[in-house]
């Protein structure tokens, strides 16, 4: 038994108020009777049940106190963990692409029809099914994950509106399958205005597709980018991606306008679902550019315009912390789009540093940063599993396909005062000396991490011809905005740091591959998100589940996964045995008991006074 609002027990103080009122009540009425002779005989006959007589005399007081106690219990919201068997899960995918805003002949929009269809579909399901709701926009989102609260899903459903972009149905359907795998009896239902172009497309395998809207073309601009031409910097190249999200083919005209100049146009023909990229060369340099698509029967005009401007590429901010950082800083400054900064160890203030990644030279901070970190000849770092360095005594052996040694001839490497480490489990060894690593890299707690045993301050290394190239490789690999080299089609952004529930001491994360990773608080939990799909995150106090949520990882926006304050309410903790554990609120029952007590009080009150 848990209490969702234990502070409500303070209301029990009302019992004191009732007792005070009871003590201060008007004195009882005095009635002069001829004699107590018969009264004493009557009372004597009832003396055997004295305590019962006392209860009867104070029945109203006891009922009032009991009512307050039960009322307090109701306010404290008692709940208990219940386990119920559940049916196969259901995932509803709502297409929220711009075309869903198209109004049909009767005035209702496609999204309204889709909502109605989805609601009817949900209401036709058995109550024991867990339901997820996913929107398929430019960035698919899981609005509700595996909940048994159907009303919650309907409520979220009613708030879905189209976005001003195309929908990534493939990604959304992948997420839906991870939540409700059709192979395991789950149902994935897609509500869209875009019927599958190819029935055999594996994206739609096992998906129940409900198409809303009348057949019509919907030509939209998918993307619009401009850049200076490398060969002719005085001219600009524009790339327009046009897409037909409609259900019929359409002829369209693409117009690109540079500043206030005259538009340049191209005619294209798009079949249903087709996407084409058009390149407009030799555009003049201007402050801004506009692209427009015009189609005679276009269902939606809101997605026909796009704007772009020339922008300098963003630069990567790297901070080198060490007592002799300048050779590394100089090498980093030679890397394009990198801003390198040197900070002495004593001056390093991690809390106020916002670098994109760090290089620590002969030093390791107490709390590791949440972004990429490169350690140059670090001391022992227990949190990384690094032991104390030892000197390298033989020539190193390079591993094939090392991203850090790309285009570097291993034979040029000079071994001076280098050190080696026992390779941690997370590390991929690039250079080994016997069983130990001279250079290694890997992802630990979602953070790209490299350990370098070279003596970077030594002249033999810092002046070697491969030195800038090596650091260019390091930057390329350690760039936190670059995709991890795991072949995933999602592009992970910064490592995801889990926010701890105030009461939890343990976090368990189950990834889409059904692998569970556990973190023990208060160690910072950084989620390594390399696999797209749904992650179920549960937080515990001992064995008690205190919070859980399910998320889908979306690159670029999920830098933090807020778990704090997420109650284990209607959202369910799901395990493979098709059982659900959820907190059942008991307060409605307790409130009903309060009402019953009040009725009993009313009855007793009037029964006593009915004698009058």
């Amino acid at each position: 038994m848990n209490w969702a609002a234990p502070l409500a027990f303070a209301w029990a103080g009302l019992t004191l108020v009732v007792l005070v009122f009871f003590l201060l009540r008007p004195r009882r009425q005095r009635i002069v009777v001829a004699s107590l002779f018969v009264w004493r005989r009557t009372i004597q006959a009832r003396a055997d049940d004295t305590w019962l007589a006392w209860l009867r005399r104070h029945a109203l007081l006891l009922l009032q106190l009991l009512t307050i106690v039960v009322f307090t219990l109701a306010l404290a919201r008692p709940e208990r963990l219940a386990t119920v068997e559940l049916g196969p899960p259901v995932a509803v995918v709502m297409d929220v692409s711009a075309s869903m805003a198209i109004a049909e002949g009767d005035g209702t929009s496609r999204i309204e029809r889709a909502r109605e269809e989805a609601a009817a579909f949900l209401n036709s399901l058995d109550d024991d099914r867990r339901t997820s709701l996913i929107t398929a926009g430019a960035v698919p989102r899981t609005l509700v994950a595996q909940t048994s609260d159907r009303a919650e899903v309907i409520r979220f459903l009613s708030g879905i509106e189209p976005e001003a972009s195309h929908g990534r149905l493939d990604t959304a359907l992948d997420m839906a399958r991870s939540l409700a795998s059709p192979a395991a009896g789950g149902i994935v239902a897609l509500f869209t205005d875009q019927p599958p172009v190819e029935a055999s497309n594996p994206v739609y395998a096992g998906v129940r597709t409900v198409v809303v809207g009348e057949p019509a073309p919907n030509v939209a601009l998918d993307s619009f980018q401009v850049r200076r031409r490398l060969d002719k910097p005085d001219t600009v190249q524009g790339m327009v991606a046009a897409r037909n999200d409609g259900t019929t083919g359409a002829a369209a005209e693409i117009l690109v306008t540079a500043g206030r100049g005259s538009p340049t146009s191209r005619a294209i023909s798009l079949t249903a679902g087709e996407r084409q990229i058009l390149v407009f060369d030799d555009l003049p340099v201007a402050a801004g550019y506009q692209a427009e698509v015009r189609a005679p029967d276009d269902g939606l005009s809101a997605d026909n315009l796009a704007f772009a401007s020339l922008a300098e590429p963003s630069r990567l901010s790297v901070v080198v912390v060490g007592n002799d950082p300048w050779p590394i800083v100089r090498a980093l400054q030679a890397v394009p789009a990198v801003t390198a900064q040197a900070i002495a160890v004593d001056s390093f203030d991690q809390d106020n540093s916002t670098a994109d990644f760090y290089v620590f030279q002969g030093f390791a901070p107490e709390l590791l940063p949440s972004t990429s970190a490169v350690f140059v000849q670090p001391p022992a770092v227990p949190s990384l599993g690094l032991d104390a360095p030892t000197s390298a005594d033989t020539h190193p052996l390079a591993m094939a396909n090392s991203p850090l040694l790309k285009s570097i001839d291993v034979g040029d490497l000079v071994s001076g005062s280098d050190v080696t480490y026992a390779p941690p489990a997370w590390a991929q060894v690039d250079l080994s000396v016997g069983e130990r690593a001279l250079l290694a890299h890997g992802v630990v707690d979602g953070r790209r991490t490299a350990v370098i045993g070279f003596d970077m301050a030594g002249a033999g290394v810092s002046q070697a011809p491969w030195f800038p190239l090596f650091w260019s490789n390091v930057v390329r690999w350690a760039d936190p905005f670059a995709p991890l080299p795991d072949g995933a089609h999602l592009e992970p952004g910064r490592p995801v740091r889990l926010i701890q529930h105030p009461r939890s001491d343990r976090v368990a994360v189950t990834n889409p591959a059904n692998e569970t990773i556990e973190f023990t608080m208060p160690k910072p939990a950084v989620l390594d998100v390399t696999v797209p799909g749904a992650y179920t995150i549960r937080q515990f106090v001992g064995q008690e589940l205190v919070a859980q949520t399910s998320i889908d990882y979306v690159p670029g926006i999920a830098g933090r996964i807020g778990l704090a304050g997420v109650p284990a309410g209607p959202g369910a903790t799901v395990d493979s045995a098709q059982r659900i554990q959820h907190q059942v609120e008991l307060w409605p029952w307790v409130a009903g008991l309060v009402l019953a007590l009040v009725l009993v009080e009313w009855w007793v009150f009037h029964r006593v006074r009915g004698v009058r």
Partner: protein, 301 residues
């Protein structure tokens, strides 16, 4: 309008003219002789020297010569003496409970009891019975010496008018004190609410003294059928003792049952001792009590 008897104003509790007219044909019933062969208003089962002829019997030595019927001797030549009925004087003892508990009720039990005894007293005096009386409280109170004749009606009413209910009850002690006065036994009428544990002992003492006892048990409606709710404090009108009770339906029903049991006990007790038990309510009229209830129970005839 104030009535007057022998020039004195009648108190309010005294029977009015209409009631007196109806009571004129009634008298208190005595079912056995009490041995007071004085000139009275009622025939006695004993023979005596009154003028009422009863029978003749043969002369026996020692008989009064004056009672020889010489006419019969002349006709039969035998001596017969006249046997005449004796006229008995009945002593009616009117005993009024003046304890504080008699002050309850509307009208009070005391008022009704006093009015009934006044009417009985008038009836007895009008029938040439001897009337004596006393007020009974925690002890024997004021007494009314035996008097005969209507001339003492006003004195009797004055005696009754002086009585007021107050104090506690010790009926047995008061009756014992009354018995100790060694008055002639006769018909004793005790008007009381009997709200005292020793009430049966008092009744028994009266009966044992040789009186023909009539107990007029006066109760008021509030006592028999109380109605109150909530937690109340009941205060004894006599002793001032108090008890707290919750006047719920169960308790009140139990109380009514207890009252019924108590009156039944008293009735059985009286029946065993040949005592007339006449339960009345304070809200009944004196006329109804006198002309119907007391006649039904054989006290008046």
């Amino acid at each position: 309008m104030t009535e007057r008897t022998n020039g004195a104003a009648l108190p309010a509790f005294a029977p009015d003219a209409a009631l007196r007219a109806k009571l004129a044909n009634l008298s208190l019933v005595s079912q056995r002789p009490h041995g007071h062969l004085h000139t009275g208003g009622r025939r006695s089962r004993a023979t005596g020297s009154s003028i009422e002829f009863a029978d003749h019997r043969s002369y026996s030595p020692g008989d009064d010569y004056r009672q020889i019927d010489w006419n019969i001797y002349a006709r039969t030549d035998e001596l017969f003496v006249k046997v005449r009925e004796s006229e008995e004087t009945l002593v009616v003892h009117l005993l009024l409970d003046v304890s504080g508990s008699m002050a309850s009720g509307a009208p009070t039990k005391f008022e009704v009891a006093r009015a009934v005894l006044a009417a009985l007293g008038w009836t007895a005096l009008a029938s040439r019975d001897v009337v004596a009386g006393a007020s009974l409280g925690v002890d024997l109170g004021e007494t009314f010496a035996p008097r005969q004749g209507e001339a003492y009606v006003a004195r009797l009413f004055e005696f009754l008018e002086r009585q007021q209910p107050s104090g506690e009850t010790a009926l047995a002690r008061a009756v014992a004190a009354y018995n100790a006065r060694a008055l002639q036994h006769g018909v004793a009428v005790l008007a009381s609410d009997l709200l005292a544990p020793d009430a049966p002992r008092a009744i028994g003492a009266l009966a044992q003294r040789g009186h023909e006892v009539t107990v007029i048990h006066v109760l008021d409606e509030d006592f028999v059928n109380p109605a109150f709710a909530d937690e109340v404090e009941l205060v004894d009108a006599e002793g001032g003792d108090a008890v707290e009770v919750l006047g719920d339906a169960d308790l009140l029903n139990a109380y009514r049952q207890a009252v019924g049991d108590w009156t039944s006990e008293l009735q059985r007790f009286c029946h065993r001792r040949h005592v007339r038990y006449v339960p009345i309510r304070s809200n009944w009229t004196v006329e109804d009590i006198m002309l119907r209830r007391l006649r039904e129970h054989g006290t008046l005839a």
